[in-house]
């Protein structure tokens, strides 16, 4: 073994979406950072679909951006189609999604890493994590090199003991065509982690030259495309379309007749797969009477013929994949470039980490991304960012950054993971956020920009732009609230023209804006003020005024929630010593080790009387200690 003579503040294992954000955040916050990847040409690789964002995921991307992460800027530079989803619904559940040029995204992110000061990139396979007295001290690689560091962030994705299934054959791999990481899994077990097993899958990639697009529906992007990042002025690159086709009875018959060759149904796959992302064989079996399933063909990039068949995740054998694909309209002659497959991998059930993403058994060791049981690039990147931030804050001896459920989707994500754990690959949904109406994609900067600036990830320049925006929104809301218009002939004509009722008494502009069919733009016309305000500011003003009642209701809920979050639980409690707790509750408390009463109350199986008992126990300890101190 050879110990490398350089010492790092942070070592990041893995350079996927979590690893990249973690390494960038740590380096940008002043830490000397080393990122280790098994294959330096696969940095920021999109293993599955060529897209970033989507419902609730777009929220995550924007939150990463507001805090000073990279994902949003990278997709803005390399996206090939941008859309806002749920446009017909209210602002809280609208979200951005973009098709990515996979190759460009990878190259772009790699070059951002390469240009980052204090960040070193090396190709290596990590075999073990080195600890000393319950604290991490570095990593050892398969070529016998030891790297020493102050902290380690593990972001191994699906690589831990990865096992790919295609039909009834299977082989160890981290991703199609890549080695798995087997020794690291053992190392984690040796340190004291409990491991679980999950499963996910991907779709066949098709050769665009063998697809008849002329019989399919075309899906274009929005015009103009709206960027994700607050730093992106506008998207300048051109957009390319996706295509929509459907499976049919013939497809389903082929699949049904060959289920005996599916590893999913033969029992070969033991890991738990995501219910929201079932394979096509699963869909055909479980939703027997559904006549067709939609298939989106998404380009993998601008300069490739490769297409991702969204909706056809499968682990059936290749001959069956070919057979059922060719029953689909437009795919009669299709050639597969890469087959679909299922992959099983180890994960660390996330109740073993703190809300900072630091592990409970080993100090200064952080886990982020799929290793924590999540699924999705955005969920991974969000955790990577938070792990990087908290590793850096810890090294500098500062308070950690923990976002709560009322701050951000990132807060919901991490709180769910560390409090409830997960049984299947965890994906974010807007329905997971109880304060959904406050956690909008449009106001991520209002929620998080300040935090990003304080930790040093958002530049002063960007921050001042934000302060200016916030101030202008505030002033405009005040103006609309204070200015009333009289029911004059001219005004009422304008109102009728817009399609709303006349006014009979003086009415504030804010109250007019609350009417369902009036938009901020209309107010400008009625007002005659004409000082055209920035569109993003106008949008915020409109939302804040229009949904004031709902926002107020959620704020009241948040206030109640905060009260319990602020009641801290000491970390030294031994729950086995508290009389009167049920075995189930005690076990869960010992695993989760909640940091607040609020978090404790969200543990499944927790009861109000158990909480009372804990509260009394804590007070008792506190008083015994005080009594002892007074005596001494």
């Amino acid at each position: 073994m050879y110990t490398y003579d350089k010492k790092y503040d942070v070592i990041v294992i893995g350079a996927g979406h979590a690893g990249c954000e973690a390494a960038l955040a740590a380096a940008r916050m002043g830490c000397t950072t080393l990122i280790l990847t098994m294959n330096i040409d696969n940095i920021a690789m999109m293993s599955c679909n060529p897209a970033i964002g989507g419902l609730a995921k777009g929220h995550l991307v924007c939150e990463i951006d507001a805090l000073g992460g990279e994902m949003a800027r990278c997709i803005d530079r390399t996206g090939i189609q941008f859309r806002i989803l749920n446009k017909v619904k209210g602002p809280a559940v609208q979200a951005s999604r973009a098709q990515a040029d996979k190759l460009l995204y990878r190259i772009d992110m790699k070059s951002v890493l390469e240009r980052q000061d204090r960040l070193y990139i090396k190709q290596a396979i990590v075999d073990s994590i080195l600890t000393d007295n319950g604290r991490v001290k570095g990593v050892a690689t398969d070529t016998g090199i030891i790297y020493i560091s102050n902290s380690v962030i593990v972001t191994t994705g699906t690589f831990l003991n990865g096992l790919i299934h295609i039909g009834l054959s299977n082989f160890p791999a981290g991703r199609a065509g890549e080695f798995p990481s087997t020794k690291l899994s053992d190392s984690l077990k040796d340190i004291g982690f409990r491991l679980g097993r999950l499963k996910t899958g991907t779709t066949p990639r098709l050769d665009g030259r063998t697809i008849d697009f002329s019989v399919m529906d075309i899906h274009e992007g929005d015009d103009p495309p709206i960027p994700f990042s607050y730093s992106t002025e506008r998207i300048t690159q051109g957009q390319i379309p996706c295509y929509l086709t459907y499976t049919n009875e013939k497809t389903h018959r082929v699949i049904r007749e060959n289920l005996n060759r599916s590893p999913l149904y033969s029992g070969a796959i033991k890991g738990v797969g995501p219910r929201y992302c079932p394979s096509i064989e699963d869909k055909v079996v479980r939703f027997y009477d559904k006549e067709r399933h939609q298939i989106f063909l998404e380009p993998e990039g601008r300069n490739t013929h490769e297409f991702y068949a969204n909706g056809l995740s499968t682990s059936l054998p290749i001959d069956i994949q070919i057979k059922f694909l060719r029953t689909i309209r437009g795919l009669e002659e299709v050639e597969i470039m890469k087959p679909g497959y299922a992959i099983e991998y180890d994960f660390v059930p996330p109740t073993q980490i703190f809300p900072t993403l630091e592990t409970k058994p080993v100090k200064r060791l952080f886990l982020a991304g799929q290793i924590n049981g999540t699924s999705g690039y955005e969920e991974a990147a969000a955790q990577g960012l938070m792990a990087g931030i908290n590793a850096a804050l810890m090294i500098r001896g500062k308070e950690p950054l923990i976002l709560d459920r009322s701050n951000a989707y990132i807060g919901v994500l991490i709180d769910d993971l560390v409090t409830k754990g997960t049984e299947e690959p965890y994906r974010m949904f807007t329905s997971r956020a109880e304060y959904r109406l406050l956690l909008r994609q449009d106001n991520t900067d209002m929620r998080l920009r300040e935090k990003g600036f304080k930790i040093g990830l958002v530049s002063k320049d960007e921050y001042e732009r934000f302060l200016d925006k916030r101030n202008r929104i505030k002033m405009e809301i005040e103006r609309l609230t204070n200015i009333s218009i009289r029911p004059s002939r001219i005004t009422n004509d304008k109102l009728l023209e817009i399609g709303t009722e006349e006014i009979k008494t003086p009415t504030s502009l804010a109250n007019l804006l609350r009417r369902p069919n009036i938009k901020y733009k209309d107010i400008e016309a009625i007002d005659g003020n004409g000082n055209a305000i920035d569109e993003r500011i106008g949008k915020q003003v409109e939302i804040e005024i229009k949904y004031h009642g709902y926002i107020k209701r959620q704020l009241a809920q948040v206030e109640k929630f905060k009260k319990w979050e602020q009641e801290k639980m000491p970390q030294s409690i031994d729950y086995d010593h508290i009389p009167g707790l049920s075995l189930e509750v005690r076990e869960k408390l010992n695993t989760v080790r909640p940091i607040s009463f609020g978090q404790a109350s969200r543990i499944s199986g927790m009861t109000p009387s158990a909480l009372s008992i804990i509260m009394i126990y804590i007070e008792k300890i506190r008083r015994t200690k005080r009594a002892r101190d007074e005596k001494a």
């Binding site: 419902l55 079932p278 807007t430 009387s609």
Partner: protein, 428 residues
């Protein structure tokens, strides 16, 4: 708790001295109506059992004043204490010592065990059945609503707004039925709030006297003799009626009458049953007609009095105005038609759907939770009718689920996702 208490000099709760017993009245802050005369003790922190500000109210015994006062303080923001809560607070605030604290844990544990057993027994019965079918309905609605938000891009069949509306209305109806059992249980325990209304001098007091068989109210031929409300209890075949005779309603009148009318209106709000009296020997007056408008939606019995005199009242007009209400003709002074009236009252109070076995909601805490769920459902229904986006509907559906969860101690968050994944073919 503003305006809840007034002593004889009109002093308010805030002005009452600590650690003194003060005589006064509990007042409904909304209507200004006196609920009961009480002795009130304020113990300001830290000189109290819990070391927090404590107010003790000593009222008359019996369920009526107790429930009324409890309802008022809950409306004002208070909530019923958990088992052992006062002792727990006393400990947390440092008033009792360690050994006592151990006892608190026992209290909490044993009490919650006992109440758990009791609750389980309660739950095994009808309430749990009712709440769990409500829960199923709500999860179904929430799954539809949430799926339409989180999986809008997928090819799934979301139910139409019409179906969503029907389902939500069905839930609201179920909640209302449950709430009704509380009222019914209360009627059996405490008696039905029965209000006699009518313009002046139609014979309200005479009816009360006839029903009581005694001269309680002062009966004179001068209109407007009863300036204040008079409350009496009678028993019809085992059903208690708390009969309240109100001041006659007359549009043009002095201050006292306006006050009396205001109180009558307040009383009408909480009435279980309303007896509207008319004078058969006179034609309908402006006052009669305005009363008829006020009581339109009440649990109503129409009583036409003075059959001993020549009948000139427009009886057909009344029948047309109240096609589904019963009309009883009586003579209060000659005590004629009273038995038929009593039968009618009894019939109106005996809900055929609710027997004494099916009374499920007995606790104020459950009722409070159901009332919140009811308000949430009403909001949700309004949002659906206003074509609001789904996340706004979801806000109230979720709040309704949370309110129901307070009754059963269950949470719903994962159930909705489970329902979505089992009902819809999700996943691209």
């Amino acid at each position: 708790m503003k305006g809840l208490f007034a002593d004889v000099r009109g002093e308010r709760l805030k002005e009452v001295k600590s650690h003194r017993v003060t005589y006064g009245f509990i007042v409904d802050p909304e209507s200004g109506r006196r609920i009961d005369e009480v002795l009130l003790t304020v113990m300001l922190a830290p000189r109290s059992y819990t070391r927090e500000d404590v107010v003790e109210i000593s009222c008359h015994g019996g369920m009526i004043p107790l429930t009324a006062i409890l309802n008022l303080v809950i409306k004002g923001g208070a909530r019923p204490a958990e088992p052992g809560e006062f002792t727990k607070r006393a400990f947390l605030n440092g008033r009792i010592d360690l050994t006592q604290a151990e006892a608190v844990i026992d209290i909490i544990r044993s009490r919650s065990d006992v109440s758990l057993r009791m609750a389980t027994r309660h739950m095994e019965g009808g309430l749990s059945k009712e709440i769990s079918s409500l829960r199923e309905e709500l999860i179904g609605i929430a799954a539809q609503v949430e799926a339409s938000i989180d999986f809008s891009g997928e090819d799934i069949d979301i139910e139409s707004r019409d179906i969503l509306l029907k389902k939500s209305e069905r839930v609201l109806k179920m909640i209302n039925t449950l709430l009704k059992t509380f009222d019914h249980g209360r009627i059996l325990r405490e008696g039905a709030r029965t209000i006699i209304v009518g313009r002046t001098n139609v014979g309200k007091s005479s009816l009360l006297n006839a029903l009581l068989n005694q001269e309680r109210a002062i009966v004179t031929p001068i209109p407007g003799t009863t300036r204040d409300s008079i409350e009496e209890m009678i028993n019809i075949d085992g059903i208690h009626l708390n009969i309240i005779d109100t001041a006659g309603i007359r549009k043009r009148g002095g201050y006292v009458e306006r006050e009396g009318m205001k109180r009558t209106m307040d009383l009408l709000k909480d009435a279980d049953i309303v007896l509207m009296m008319l004078d058969g020997s006179e034609r309908l007056t402006v006052d009669d007609r305005s009363i008829m408008r006020e009581v339109r939606d009440k649990n109503l019995i129409i009583v036409v009095n003075k059959t001993d005199l020549l009948q000139v009242i427009e009886i057909n007009e009344i029948k047309r105005a109240f096609p589904d209400k019963r009309i009883y003709t009586i003579s209060a002074t000659e005590k004629k038609g009273l038995d038929r009236l009593k039968d009618g009252i009894k019939e109106l109070l005996t809900d055929k759907e609710i027997t004494s076995e099916s009374i499920l909601i007995t606790r104020i805490r459950h009722r409070e939770a159901l009332i919140r769920a009811k308000e949430n459902m009403e909001n949700a229904i309004k949002s659906i009718k206003d074509s609001m986006s789904e996340e706004f509907i979801a806000l109230d559906i979720n709040a309704a689920m949370e309110s129901l969860g307070e009754i059963t101690g269950q949470t719903f968050s994962e159930d909705v996702l489970n329902k979505i994944f089992s009902d819809f073919c999700i996943g691209k």
